[in-house]
Amino acid sequence: MKILTEHIDVQGIETIDVFRKHGGYAAVEKAIKKMTPDEVTEEVKKSGLRGRGGAGFPMGMKWSFLAKPEGVPRYLVCNADESEPGTFKDHYLMMKSPHTLIEGMIVSSYALGANTSYIYIRGELMYVATILEKAIQEAKDKGLLGKNILGSGYDLELHVQLGGGAYICGEETALLESLEGKRGNPRNKPPFPAVKGLWQCPTVVNNVESIAATSWIVNNGGDEYAKIGIGRSTGTKLISVSGHVRKPGVYELPLGLSVEDFIYSDEWCGGIRAGHKLKAVVAGGSSVPILPAELILKTTNGENRLMTYESLSDGGFATGTMLGSGGFVVMDETTCIVHNTLTFGRFYHHESCGQCSPCREGTGWMDKVLYRIEHGKGRQEDIDLLVDVAKKIEGNTICPLGDAAAWPVAAAIRHFRDEFEWHINHPEKATQKGAVFMREGASWSL
Protein backbone atom coordinates (compact mmCIF):
# COMPACT_ATOMS: atom_id res chain seq x y z
CA MET A 1 0.00 0.00 0.00
CA LYS A 2 1.66 3.19 -1.17
CA ILE A 3 0.21 6.64 -0.75
CA LEU A 4 3.09 9.05 -1.10
CA THR A 5 5.47 7.14 -3.31
CA GLU A 6 3.22 5.16 -5.62
CA HIS A 7 4.39 7.05 -8.70
CA ILE A 8 7.72 8.29 -7.42
CA ASP A 9 9.78 6.38 -9.96
CA VAL A 10 7.68 7.41 -12.94
CA GLN A 11 9.79 9.22 -15.52
CA GLY A 12 9.06 12.95 -15.40
CA ILE A 13 6.94 12.85 -12.23
CA GLU A 14 8.62 16.10 -11.17
CA THR A 15 6.76 17.90 -13.95
CA ILE A 16 3.18 18.98 -13.47
CA ASP A 17 1.83 17.31 -16.60
CA VAL A 18 3.11 13.86 -15.73
CA PHE A 19 2.12 14.37 -12.11
CA ARG A 20 -1.44 15.25 -13.12
CA LYS A 21 -1.61 12.29 -15.49
CA HIS A 22 -1.13 10.13 -12.42
CA GLY A 23 -3.93 11.71 -10.47
CA GLY A 24 -1.98 14.69 -9.16
CA TYR A 25 -3.87 17.78 -7.96
CA ALA A 26 -7.21 15.92 -7.87
CA ALA A 27 -7.24 16.67 -4.13
CA VAL A 28 -6.93 20.40 -4.77
CA GLU A 29 -9.88 20.31 -7.16
CA LYS A 30 -11.95 18.27 -4.76
CA ALA A 31 -11.12 20.23 -1.62
CA ILE A 32 -11.49 23.68 -3.09
CA LYS A 33 -14.53 23.02 -5.28
CA LYS A 34 -16.50 20.53 -3.23
CA MET A 35 -15.49 20.86 0.42
CA THR A 36 -15.41 23.54 3.08
CA PRO A 37 -12.16 24.04 5.00
CA ASP A 38 -13.75 22.49 8.08
CA GLU A 39 -14.75 19.42 6.10
CA VAL A 40 -11.12 18.93 5.07
CA THR A 41 -10.02 19.25 8.69
CA GLU A 42 -12.70 16.77 9.70
CA GLU A 43 -11.35 14.15 7.25
CA VAL A 44 -7.82 14.67 8.53
CA LYS A 45 -9.11 14.16 12.06
CA LYS A 46 -10.89 10.97 11.07
CA SER A 47 -7.77 9.65 9.36
CA GLY A 48 -5.91 9.47 12.66
CA LEU A 49 -2.82 10.80 10.83
CA ARG A 50 -0.10 11.60 13.35
CA GLY A 51 2.63 14.15 12.78
CA ARG A 52 5.51 12.53 10.90
CA GLY A 53 8.19 14.95 12.10
CA GLY A 54 8.95 12.90 15.18
CA ALA A 55 6.52 13.68 17.95
CA GLY A 56 3.52 11.82 16.46
CA PHE A 57 0.93 14.37 17.58
CA PRO A 58 -2.49 13.90 15.89
CA MET A 59 -2.56 16.28 12.95
CA GLY A 60 -6.30 16.98 12.90
CA MET A 61 -6.23 17.89 16.55
CA LYS A 62 -3.30 20.24 16.02
CA TRP A 63 -5.21 21.95 13.23
CA SER A 64 -8.27 22.39 15.40
CA PHE A 65 -6.20 24.29 18.01
CA LEU A 66 -5.40 27.02 15.48
CA ALA A 67 -6.74 30.34 16.76
CA LYS A 68 -8.87 32.22 14.24
CA PRO A 69 -9.20 35.82 15.38
CA GLU A 70 -10.88 38.17 12.89
CA GLY A 71 -8.60 40.14 10.64
CA VAL A 72 -5.36 38.38 11.65
CA PRO A 73 -3.54 36.30 9.02
CA ARG A 74 -2.92 32.64 9.75
CA TYR A 75 0.07 30.73 8.45
CA LEU A 76 0.96 27.20 7.50
CA VAL A 77 4.67 26.47 7.66
CA CYS A 78 6.04 23.23 6.32
CA ASN A 79 8.94 21.86 8.28
CA ALA A 80 11.44 20.62 5.71
CA ASP A 81 14.44 21.16 7.94
CA GLU A 82 15.12 17.41 8.11
CA SER A 83 18.34 17.22 10.11
CA GLU A 84 17.80 14.35 12.53
CA PRO A 85 20.67 11.93 11.92
CA GLY A 86 19.36 8.86 10.14
CA THR A 87 16.48 10.69 8.47
CA PHE A 88 16.39 11.53 4.77
CA LYS A 89 12.82 10.72 3.71
CA ASP A 90 11.64 14.32 3.17
CA HIS A 91 14.74 14.99 1.08
CA TYR A 92 13.91 11.94 -1.06
CA LEU A 93 10.23 12.80 -1.46
CA MET A 94 10.75 16.48 -2.33
CA MET A 95 13.63 15.81 -4.67
CA LYS A 96 11.81 13.11 -6.65
CA SER A 97 8.21 14.33 -6.52
CA PRO A 98 7.99 17.99 -5.50
CA HIS A 99 4.36 18.29 -6.55
CA THR A 100 3.35 15.74 -3.91
CA LEU A 101 4.32 18.31 -1.29
CA ILE A 102 2.94 21.31 -3.19
CA GLU A 103 -0.44 19.60 -3.59
CA GLY A 104 -0.56 18.82 0.13
CA MET A 105 0.43 22.40 0.94
CA ILE A 106 -2.48 23.78 -1.08
CA VAL A 107 -5.00 21.39 0.48
CA SER A 108 -3.72 22.01 4.01
CA SER A 109 -3.47 25.78 3.60
CA TYR A 110 -7.05 25.81 2.35
CA ALA A 111 -8.21 23.83 5.38
CA LEU A 112 -6.48 26.25 7.74
CA GLY A 113 -7.51 29.40 5.92
CA ALA A 114 -3.92 30.44 5.24
CA ASN A 115 -3.30 32.75 2.30
CA THR A 116 0.47 32.72 2.57
CA SER A 117 2.43 29.57 3.38
CA TYR A 118 6.10 28.80 3.64
CA ILE A 119 8.20 25.71 3.14
CA TYR A 120 11.22 26.07 5.43
CA ILE A 121 13.90 23.82 4.00
CA ARG A 122 17.37 23.25 5.41
CA GLY A 123 19.89 25.37 3.54
CA GLU A 124 22.04 22.40 2.56
CA LEU A 125 19.17 21.21 0.36
CA MET A 126 19.47 24.28 -1.87
CA TYR A 127 19.12 22.16 -4.99
CA VAL A 128 15.82 20.77 -3.67
CA ALA A 129 14.61 24.32 -3.00
CA THR A 130 15.22 25.02 -6.69
CA ILE A 131 13.20 21.93 -7.65
CA LEU A 132 10.35 23.06 -5.38
CA GLU A 133 10.39 26.59 -6.75
CA LYS A 134 10.13 25.27 -10.25
CA ALA A 135 7.16 23.11 -9.25
CA ILE A 136 5.49 26.08 -7.56
CA GLN A 137 5.86 28.11 -10.74
CA GLU A 138 4.29 25.30 -12.77
CA ALA A 139 1.37 25.10 -10.35
CA LYS A 140 0.92 28.88 -10.58
CA ASP A 141 0.91 28.74 -14.35
CA LYS A 142 -1.92 26.21 -14.19
CA GLY A 143 -3.99 28.34 -11.82
CA LEU A 144 -3.48 25.96 -8.90
CA LEU A 145 -1.66 28.58 -6.84
CA GLY A 146 -1.83 32.34 -6.61
CA LYS A 147 -4.94 34.46 -6.84
CA ASN A 148 -8.40 32.95 -7.18
CA ILE A 149 -7.37 29.30 -7.38
CA LEU A 150 -9.51 27.39 -9.89
CA GLY A 151 -11.94 30.29 -9.89
CA SER A 152 -12.90 29.65 -6.27
CA GLY A 153 -11.95 33.01 -4.84
CA TYR A 154 -9.35 31.35 -2.60
CA ASP A 155 -5.84 32.90 -2.81
CA LEU A 156 -2.61 31.23 -1.79
CA GLU A 157 0.99 32.33 -2.14
CA LEU A 158 3.60 29.67 -1.44
CA HIS A 159 7.25 30.45 -0.74
CA VAL A 160 10.35 28.38 -0.13
CA GLN A 161 12.63 29.62 2.65
CA LEU A 162 16.23 28.44 2.99
CA GLY A 163 17.66 27.76 6.43
CA GLY A 164 21.32 28.27 7.21
CA GLY A 165 22.45 24.94 8.65
CA ALA A 166 21.21 24.32 12.19
CA TYR A 167 19.48 21.17 13.44
CA ILE A 168 17.69 23.14 16.12
CA CYS A 169 15.69 24.97 13.46
CA GLY A 170 13.71 21.74 13.04
CA GLU A 171 12.17 22.46 16.42
CA GLU A 172 9.05 24.35 15.47
CA THR A 173 9.51 27.52 17.50
CA ALA A 174 13.20 27.78 16.55
CA LEU A 175 12.08 27.34 12.96
CA LEU A 176 9.72 30.29 13.32
CA GLU A 177 12.47 32.43 14.84
CA SER A 178 14.72 31.50 11.95
CA LEU A 179 11.97 32.30 9.44
CA GLU A 180 11.76 35.71 11.06
CA GLY A 181 15.45 36.17 10.24
CA LYS A 182 16.83 35.52 13.71
CA ARG A 183 19.06 33.02 15.47
CA GLY A 184 17.28 29.70 15.89
CA ASN A 185 16.61 29.91 19.61
CA PRO A 186 13.50 27.93 20.62
CA ARG A 187 10.78 29.93 22.32
CA ASN A 188 9.24 29.23 25.68
CA LYS A 189 5.82 27.59 25.40
CA PRO A 190 3.09 28.68 25.97
CA PRO A 191 2.13 30.57 23.96
CA PHE A 192 2.01 27.81 21.38
CA PRO A 193 2.42 28.62 17.68
CA ALA A 194 -1.28 27.84 17.15
CA VAL A 195 -1.96 31.06 19.07
CA LYS A 196 1.22 33.08 18.58
CA GLY A 197 3.47 31.74 15.87
CA LEU A 198 5.05 33.41 12.87
CA TRP A 199 5.18 37.19 13.49
CA GLN A 200 2.95 36.53 16.52
CA CYS A 201 0.13 35.27 14.27
CA PRO A 202 -1.60 31.88 14.61
CA THR A 203 0.54 29.28 12.84
CA VAL A 204 0.56 25.57 12.18
CA VAL A 205 3.91 23.86 11.64
CA ASN A 206 3.80 20.42 10.07
CA ASN A 207 6.32 18.02 8.63
CA VAL A 208 6.67 17.45 4.86
CA GLU A 209 5.36 13.89 5.05
CA SER A 210 2.35 14.85 7.20
CA ILE A 211 1.34 17.56 4.76
CA ALA A 212 1.90 15.36 1.73
CA ALA A 213 -0.44 12.71 3.17
CA THR A 214 -3.41 15.08 3.33
CA SER A 215 -4.04 14.90 -0.44
CA TRP A 216 -4.74 11.17 -0.33
CA ILE A 217 -6.99 11.70 2.69
CA VAL A 218 -9.02 14.30 0.80
CA ASN A 219 -9.29 12.04 -2.25
CA ASN A 220 -10.18 8.85 -0.42
CA GLY A 221 -11.57 9.99 2.91
CA GLY A 222 -10.19 9.85 6.44
CA ASP A 223 -11.93 6.56 7.16
CA GLU A 224 -10.13 4.83 4.29
CA TYR A 225 -6.80 6.12 5.58
CA ALA A 226 -7.57 4.90 9.07
CA LYS A 227 -8.12 1.39 7.71
CA ILE A 228 -4.42 1.18 6.92
CA GLY A 229 -2.26 0.41 9.93
CA ILE A 230 -2.99 -0.88 13.40
CA GLY A 231 -4.88 0.87 16.20
CA ARG A 232 -3.70 4.43 16.69
CA SER A 233 -0.90 3.98 14.18
CA THR A 234 -2.84 4.65 11.01
CA GLY A 235 -1.67 5.02 7.46
CA THR A 236 1.72 4.60 5.87
CA LYS A 237 5.09 5.89 7.03
CA LEU A 238 8.23 6.73 5.14
CA ILE A 239 11.18 5.01 6.75
CA SER A 240 14.73 6.12 5.96
CA VAL A 241 17.04 3.13 6.20
CA SER A 242 20.78 3.54 6.57
CA GLY A 243 23.61 1.38 7.80
CA HIS A 244 24.41 -2.25 7.30
CA VAL A 245 21.49 -3.59 5.31
CA ARG A 246 21.64 -4.83 1.74
CA LYS A 247 19.31 -2.15 0.44
CA PRO A 248 19.47 1.16 2.28
CA GLY A 249 17.02 3.79 1.08
CA VAL A 250 13.57 5.21 1.72
CA TYR A 251 10.61 2.83 2.05
CA GLU A 252 6.96 3.60 2.40
CA LEU A 253 5.35 0.92 4.52
CA PRO A 254 1.94 0.39 6.05
CA LEU A 255 2.30 0.89 9.78
CA GLY A 256 2.04 -2.49 11.46
CA LEU A 257 4.62 -4.39 9.43
CA SER A 258 6.85 -6.50 11.70
CA VAL A 259 10.36 -5.20 12.28
CA GLU A 260 11.73 -8.60 11.37
CA ASP A 261 9.99 -8.60 7.99
CA PHE A 262 11.09 -5.06 7.38
CA ILE A 263 14.75 -5.84 8.01
CA TYR A 264 14.98 -9.28 6.46
CA SER A 265 12.43 -9.47 3.65
CA ASP A 266 13.64 -8.86 0.10
CA GLU A 267 10.71 -6.58 -0.48
CA TRP A 268 12.21 -4.17 2.07
CA CYS A 269 15.75 -3.90 3.42
CA GLY A 270 16.82 -7.30 2.12
CA GLY A 271 18.56 -8.38 5.32
CA ILE A 272 21.92 -7.56 6.84
CA ARG A 273 24.82 -7.24 4.38
CA ALA A 274 26.35 -10.55 3.39
CA GLY A 275 28.32 -12.40 6.04
CA HIS A 276 27.24 -10.18 8.90
CA LYS A 277 24.76 -10.25 11.76
CA LEU A 278 22.37 -7.73 13.23
CA LYS A 279 23.72 -6.11 16.38
CA ALA A 280 21.57 -3.07 17.08
CA VAL A 281 19.07 -0.64 15.60
CA VAL A 282 18.30 3.01 16.17
CA ALA A 283 14.72 2.93 14.99
CA GLY A 284 13.53 6.52 14.81
CA GLY A 285 16.44 8.89 14.26
CA SER A 286 19.42 9.61 16.51
CA SER A 287 17.26 10.94 19.35
CA VAL A 288 15.55 7.67 20.19
CA PRO A 289 17.02 4.90 22.35
CA ILE A 290 19.19 2.33 20.58
CA LEU A 291 18.05 -1.28 21.00
CA PRO A 292 20.12 -4.46 20.72
CA ALA A 293 19.04 -7.09 18.15
CA GLU A 294 16.92 -9.18 20.48
CA LEU A 295 14.90 -6.22 21.76
CA ILE A 296 14.27 -4.62 18.40
CA LEU A 297 12.88 -7.86 16.98
CA LYS A 298 10.79 -8.90 20.00
CA THR A 299 9.31 -7.16 23.01
CA THR A 300 10.08 -8.55 26.45
CA ASN A 301 6.70 -10.34 26.33
CA GLY A 302 8.04 -12.32 23.41
CA GLU A 303 5.74 -10.60 20.92
CA ASN A 304 6.98 -9.59 17.51
CA ARG A 305 7.93 -5.94 17.51
CA LEU A 306 5.93 -4.03 14.87
CA MET A 307 6.57 -0.81 13.01
CA THR A 308 3.97 1.18 14.96
CA TYR A 309 4.20 4.01 17.47
CA GLU A 310 2.87 1.72 20.21
CA SER A 311 4.83 -1.45 19.56
CA LEU A 312 8.18 0.29 19.21
CA SER A 313 7.65 2.05 22.53
CA ASP A 314 6.45 -1.12 24.28
CA GLY A 315 8.50 -1.60 27.42
CA GLY A 316 9.14 2.11 27.86
CA PHE A 317 12.75 3.22 27.76
CA ALA A 318 13.86 0.18 29.78
CA THR A 319 13.37 -2.19 26.84
CA GLY A 320 11.65 -0.16 24.15
CA THR A 321 12.28 2.84 21.90
CA MET A 322 10.25 5.17 19.63
CA LEU A 323 9.16 5.44 16.00
CA GLY A 324 10.30 9.09 16.02
CA SER A 325 11.07 10.46 12.58
CA GLY A 326 11.48 6.99 11.05
CA GLY A 327 15.27 7.21 10.71
CA PHE A 328 16.10 3.50 10.88
CA VAL A 329 19.83 2.98 11.42
CA VAL A 330 20.91 -0.64 11.27
CA MET A 331 24.19 -1.80 12.76
CA ASP A 332 25.94 -5.12 12.38
CA GLU A 333 28.58 -6.72 14.63
CA THR A 334 31.37 -4.55 13.21
CA THR A 335 29.84 -1.47 14.83
CA CYS A 336 31.49 0.08 17.86
CA ILE A 337 28.63 1.38 19.97
CA VAL A 338 30.92 3.75 21.83
CA HIS A 339 32.06 5.41 18.61
CA ASN A 340 28.52 5.69 17.34
CA THR A 341 27.38 7.22 20.62
CA LEU A 342 30.28 9.66 20.46
CA THR A 343 29.20 10.89 17.03
CA PHE A 344 25.69 11.45 18.37
CA GLY A 345 27.01 13.16 21.52
CA ARG A 346 29.19 15.42 19.39
CA PHE A 347 26.21 16.16 17.17
CA TYR A 348 24.01 17.38 20.04
CA HIS A 349 26.87 19.38 21.51
CA HIS A 350 27.39 21.08 18.17
CA GLU A 351 23.66 21.67 17.66
CA SER A 352 22.65 22.89 21.12
CA CYS A 353 21.53 26.49 20.73
CA GLY A 354 23.09 27.32 24.08
CA GLN A 355 20.11 28.97 25.75
CA CYS A 356 19.71 26.60 28.71
CA SER A 357 22.63 25.68 30.93
CA PRO A 358 21.78 21.97 31.38
CA CYS A 359 21.74 21.44 27.63
CA ARG A 360 24.62 23.77 26.71
CA GLU A 361 26.95 22.49 29.44
CA GLY A 362 25.62 18.94 29.64
CA THR A 363 26.01 18.18 25.94
CA GLY A 364 29.56 19.52 26.16
CA TRP A 365 30.36 17.28 29.11
CA MET A 366 28.91 14.22 27.43
CA ASP A 367 30.81 14.91 24.24
CA LYS A 368 34.10 15.30 26.13
CA VAL A 369 33.63 12.24 28.33
CA LEU A 370 32.58 10.09 25.37
CA TYR A 371 35.60 11.36 23.47
CA ARG A 372 38.01 10.32 26.16
CA ILE A 373 36.42 6.89 26.57
CA GLU A 374 36.59 6.30 22.82
CA HIS A 375 40.21 7.46 22.72
CA GLY A 376 41.44 5.22 25.51
CA LYS A 377 41.51 7.88 28.23
CA GLY A 378 38.32 6.83 29.99
CA ARG A 379 38.10 6.66 33.78
CA GLN A 380 36.19 4.11 35.86
CA GLU A 381 33.73 6.72 37.08
CA ASP A 382 32.99 8.03 33.58
CA ILE A 383 30.07 5.73 32.83
CA ASP A 384 28.17 6.80 35.90
CA LEU A 385 29.13 10.39 35.20
CA LEU A 386 27.52 10.14 31.75
CA VAL A 387 24.37 8.67 33.24
CA ASP A 388 24.29 11.43 35.83
CA VAL A 389 24.75 14.24 33.29
CA ALA A 390 22.07 12.74 31.05
CA LYS A 391 19.64 12.63 33.98
CA LYS A 392 20.35 16.24 34.84
CA ILE A 393 19.63 17.45 31.31
CA GLU A 394 16.45 15.43 30.85
CA GLY A 395 13.30 17.44 31.55
CA ASN A 396 15.22 20.56 32.56
CA THR A 397 15.37 22.46 29.31
CA ILE A 398 13.30 24.83 27.17
CA CYS A 399 13.02 22.52 24.19
CA PRO A 400 13.25 18.76 23.68
CA LEU A 401 16.77 18.87 22.21
CA GLY A 402 18.09 18.37 25.72
CA ASP A 403 16.14 15.13 26.12
CA ALA A 404 17.10 14.10 22.61
CA ALA A 405 20.75 14.47 23.57
CA ALA A 406 20.38 12.60 26.86
CA TRP A 407 18.39 9.57 25.65
CA PRO A 408 20.81 8.07 23.13
CA VAL A 409 23.68 8.20 25.63
CA ALA A 410 21.61 6.75 28.47
CA ALA A 411 20.25 4.00 26.20
CA ALA A 412 23.67 3.05 24.82
CA ILE A 413 24.92 2.59 28.38
CA ARG A 414 21.75 0.76 29.41
CA HIS A 415 22.11 -1.86 26.70
CA PHE A 416 25.85 -1.87 25.99
CA ARG A 417 27.48 -1.02 29.31
CA ASP A 418 29.98 -3.85 28.86
CA GLU A 419 31.23 -2.19 25.72
CA PHE A 420 31.94 1.08 27.53
CA GLU A 421 33.67 -0.85 30.34
CA TRP A 422 35.80 -2.71 27.83
CA HIS A 423 36.97 0.61 26.36
CA ILE A 424 37.90 1.88 29.81
CA ASN A 425 39.55 -1.34 30.98
CA HIS A 426 41.38 -2.21 27.77
CA PRO A 427 42.30 1.11 26.21
CA GLU A 428 45.12 -0.36 24.15
CA LYS A 429 42.94 -2.96 22.51
CA ALA A 430 39.96 -0.67 22.16
CA THR A 431 41.82 2.07 20.34
CA GLN A 432 43.22 -0.21 17.67
CA LYS A 433 41.84 0.43 14.21
CA GLY A 434 38.58 -1.43 13.67
CA ALA A 435 38.59 -2.97 17.16
CA VAL A 436 35.13 -3.93 18.36
CA PHE A 437 34.03 -5.56 21.58
CA MET A 438 32.35 -8.95 21.18
CA ARG A 439 29.90 -9.85 23.91
CA GLU A 440 30.19 -13.52 24.78
CA GLY A 441 27.11 -15.50 23.75
CA ALA A 442 25.40 -12.56 22.04
CA SER A 443 23.45 -13.39 18.90
CA TRP A 444 25.74 -11.12 16.88
CA SER A 445 29.04 -12.43 18.24
CA LEU A 446 31.30 -14.15 15.77
Binding site: P85, G86, G123, Q161, L162
Partner: protein
Protein backbone atom coordinates in the same frame (compact mmCIF):
# COMPACT_ATOMS: atom_id res chain seq x y z
CA UNK B 1 26.26 27.07 19.12
CA UNK B 2 29.29 27.62 16.98
CA UNK B 3 32.62 28.73 18.25
CA UNK B 4 34.86 30.19 15.64
CA UNK B 5 38.52 29.30 15.67
CA UNK B 6 40.65 31.29 13.32
CA UNK B 7 43.33 28.87 12.25
CA UNK B 8 46.83 29.97 11.50
CA UNK B 9 46.74 28.61 7.96
CA UNK B 10 43.56 30.52 7.29
CA UNK B 11 44.94 33.74 8.66
CA UNK B 12 47.80 33.31 6.23
CA UNK B 13 45.38 32.55 3.45
CA UNK B 14 43.40 35.63 4.34
CA UNK B 15 46.50 37.78 4.01
CA UNK B 16 47.13 36.34 0.59
CA UNK B 17 43.67 37.02 -0.64
CA UNK B 18 42.88 40.35 -2.10
CA UNK B 19 40.84 41.56 0.80
CA UNK B 20 37.25 42.01 -0.16
CA UNK B 21 37.05 45.44 1.45
CA UNK B 22 39.25 46.83 -1.28
CA UNK B 23 36.51 45.91 -3.76
CA UNK B 24 33.17 47.64 -3.83
CA UNK B 25 30.57 45.46 -2.23
CA UNK B 26 27.51 45.71 -4.41
CA UNK B 27 25.27 43.01 -5.85
CA UNK B 28 24.93 43.01 -9.62
CA UNK B 29 21.57 44.34 -10.85
CA UNK B 30 20.08 40.90 -11.48
CA UNK B 31 20.83 39.83 -7.90
CA UNK B 32 19.36 43.06 -6.58
CA UNK B 33 16.15 42.23 -8.43
CA UNK B 34 16.17 38.87 -6.71
CA UNK B 35 16.69 40.60 -3.35
CA UNK B 36 13.62 42.75 -3.90
CA UNK B 37 11.60 39.74 -5.00
CA UNK B 38 12.59 37.92 -1.81
CA UNK B 39 11.66 40.85 0.44
CA UNK B 40 8.17 40.83 -1.09
CA UNK B 41 7.58 37.31 0.21
CA UNK B 42 6.96 38.69 3.69
CA UNK B 43 4.48 41.19 5.07
CA UNK B 44 5.31 44.89 5.08
CA UNK B 45 8.00 45.68 7.66
CA UNK B 46 9.09 42.04 8.08
CA UNK B 47 12.02 42.29 5.68
CA UNK B 48 14.33 40.87 8.34
CA UNK B 49 12.96 37.48 7.27
CA UNK B 50 14.94 37.89 4.07
CA UNK B 51 18.21 37.77 5.98
CA UNK B 52 19.10 34.09 5.57
CA UNK B 53 18.16 33.90 1.89
CA UNK B 54 20.17 37.06 1.20
CA UNK B 55 23.19 35.86 3.13
CA UNK B 56 23.10 32.81 0.84
CA UNK B 57 23.09 35.11 -2.19
CA UNK B 58 25.94 37.12 -0.69
CA UNK B 59 28.00 34.03 -0.05
CA UNK B 60 27.38 32.82 -3.60
CA UNK B 61 28.68 36.20 -4.80
CA UNK B 62 31.70 36.69 -2.52
CA UNK B 63 32.37 33.11 -1.31
CA UNK B 64 32.40 34.12 2.35
CA UNK B 65 30.62 36.52 4.66
CA UNK B 66 33.27 39.08 5.49
CA UNK B 67 32.34 41.89 7.89
CA UNK B 68 32.09 44.20 4.89
CA UNK B 69 29.68 41.85 3.14
CA UNK B 70 27.57 41.55 6.28
CA UNK B 71 27.47 45.33 6.68
CA UNK B 72 26.28 45.62 3.10
CA UNK B 73 23.51 43.08 3.75
CA UNK B 74 22.52 44.98 6.89
CA UNK B 75 22.19 48.13 4.80
CA UNK B 76 20.03 46.39 2.21
CA UNK B 77 17.61 45.18 4.87
CA UNK B 78 17.75 48.25 7.09
CA UNK B 79 19.14 46.21 9.99
CA UNK B 80 21.92 47.09 12.35
CA UNK B 81 25.14 45.23 11.48
CA UNK B 82 25.08 43.29 14.74
CA UNK B 83 21.72 41.75 13.79
CA UNK B 84 23.44 40.28 10.77
CA UNK B 85 26.59 39.15 12.63
CA UNK B 86 24.64 37.35 15.32
CA UNK B 87 22.62 35.49 12.74
CA UNK B 88 25.47 34.65 10.37
CA UNK B 89 27.51 33.27 13.27
CA UNK B 90 24.66 31.05 14.47
CA UNK B 91 24.32 29.02 11.28
CA UNK B 92 27.02 26.64 10.09
CA UNK B 93 26.63 27.31 6.39
CA UNK B 94 27.94 30.85 6.49
CA UNK B 95 31.70 31.10 6.26
CA UNK B 96 33.05 33.82 8.49
CA UNK B 97 36.58 33.43 7.28
CA UNK B 98 37.99 33.18 3.78
CA UNK B 99 37.64 29.82 2.09
CA UNK B 100 39.09 28.08 -0.94
CA UNK B 101 37.40 27.80 -4.32
CA UNK B 102 35.73 24.55 -3.34
CA UNK B 103 34.47 24.14 0.19
CA UNK B 104 34.08 20.44 0.91
CA UNK B 105 31.55 19.93 3.69
CA UNK B 106 32.02 16.42 4.95
CA UNK B 107 29.38 14.58 6.98
CA UNK B 108 30.85 13.18 10.18
CA UNK B 109 27.70 11.78 11.83
CA UNK B 110 27.02 8.16 12.90
CA UNK B 111 25.14 6.70 9.93
CA UNK B 112 27.78 7.90 7.45
CA UNK B 113 30.52 6.54 9.73
CA UNK B 114 28.86 3.12 9.57
CA UNK B 115 29.47 3.17 5.85
CA UNK B 116 33.19 3.87 6.18
CA UNK B 117 32.92 7.64 6.52
CA UNK B 118 35.92 7.98 8.84
CA UNK B 119 38.32 6.12 6.55
CA UNK B 120 37.21 8.05 3.50
CA UNK B 121 37.58 11.31 5.40
CA UNK B 122 41.09 10.42 6.53
CA UNK B 123 41.92 9.71 2.91
CA UNK B 124 40.54 13.07 1.79
CA UNK B 125 42.54 14.96 4.40
CA UNK B 126 45.72 13.11 3.49
CA UNK B 127 45.15 13.68 -0.21
CA UNK B 128 44.76 17.42 0.23
CA UNK B 129 47.37 17.59 2.99
CA UNK B 130 45.12 19.66 5.22
CA UNK B 131 43.08 19.21 8.37
CA UNK B 132 39.48 20.07 9.13
CA UNK B 133 38.86 23.79 8.75
CA UNK B 134 41.97 24.42 6.69
CA UNK B 135 42.48 25.61 3.14
CA UNK B 136 44.99 24.03 0.79
CA UNK B 137 48.07 26.09 -0.03
CA UNK B 138 46.94 26.65 -3.61
CA UNK B 139 43.66 28.09 -2.31
CA UNK B 140 41.63 25.50 -4.18
CA UNK B 141 40.08 23.49 -1.37
CA UNK B 142 38.76 24.04 2.13
CA UNK B 143 37.44 21.16 4.17
CA UNK B 144 34.87 21.42 6.90
CA UNK B 145 33.20 18.78 9.01
CA UNK B 146 29.44 19.07 9.11
CA UNK B 147 26.68 17.10 10.75
CA UNK B 148 24.16 14.82 9.03
CA UNK B 149 23.22 16.08 5.56
CA UNK B 150 19.95 14.12 5.28
CA UNK B 151 21.49 11.64 2.88
CA UNK B 152 22.43 8.89 5.35
CA UNK B 153 21.30 5.96 3.18
CA UNK B 154 23.65 7.17 0.46
CA UNK B 155 26.64 7.71 2.73
CA UNK B 156 29.44 8.54 3.09
CA UNK B 157 28.52 11.95 1.81
CA UNK B 158 30.01 15.35 1.26
CA UNK B 159 28.71 18.49 -0.29
CA UNK B 160 30.32 21.24 -2.32
CA UNK B 161 27.92 24.17 -2.56
CA UNK B 162 24.58 22.70 -3.60
CA UNK B 163 26.07 19.56 -5.09
CA UNK B 164 25.96 16.29 -3.14
CA UNK B 165 28.62 13.62 -3.63
CA UNK B 166 27.32 10.32 -2.33
CA UNK B 167 28.34 6.71 -1.73
CA UNK B 168 31.91 7.93 -1.46
CA UNK B 169 34.91 5.63 -1.56
CA UNK B 170 38.58 6.54 -1.45
CA UNK B 171 38.73 5.99 -5.19
CA UNK B 172 35.74 8.24 -5.85
CA UNK B 173 37.31 10.94 -3.71
CA UNK B 174 40.46 10.77 -5.84
CA UNK B 175 38.42 11.17 -9.00
CA UNK B 176 36.41 14.09 -7.65
CA UNK B 177 39.48 15.94 -6.42
CA UNK B 178 41.29 15.39 -9.69
CA UNK B 179 38.32 16.63 -11.66
CA UNK B 180 37.95 19.75 -9.53
CA UNK B 181 41.69 20.47 -9.57
CA UNK B 182 41.71 20.90 -13.33
Amino acid sequence: MIIIHLRKSNIEHRKNLKMTNTQTIQFPASTLDKVHEIIKRYPEGKQKSALLPILHLAQAEWKWCSPEVMDYVAGLLKLSPVEVYEVASFYTMFHLEPVGNHVIEYCRTGPCCLMGGVEVYDHLKAKLGIETGETSADGKFTIKEVECLAACGWGPVFQIREQFYMNLTTQKVDEIIEELSK
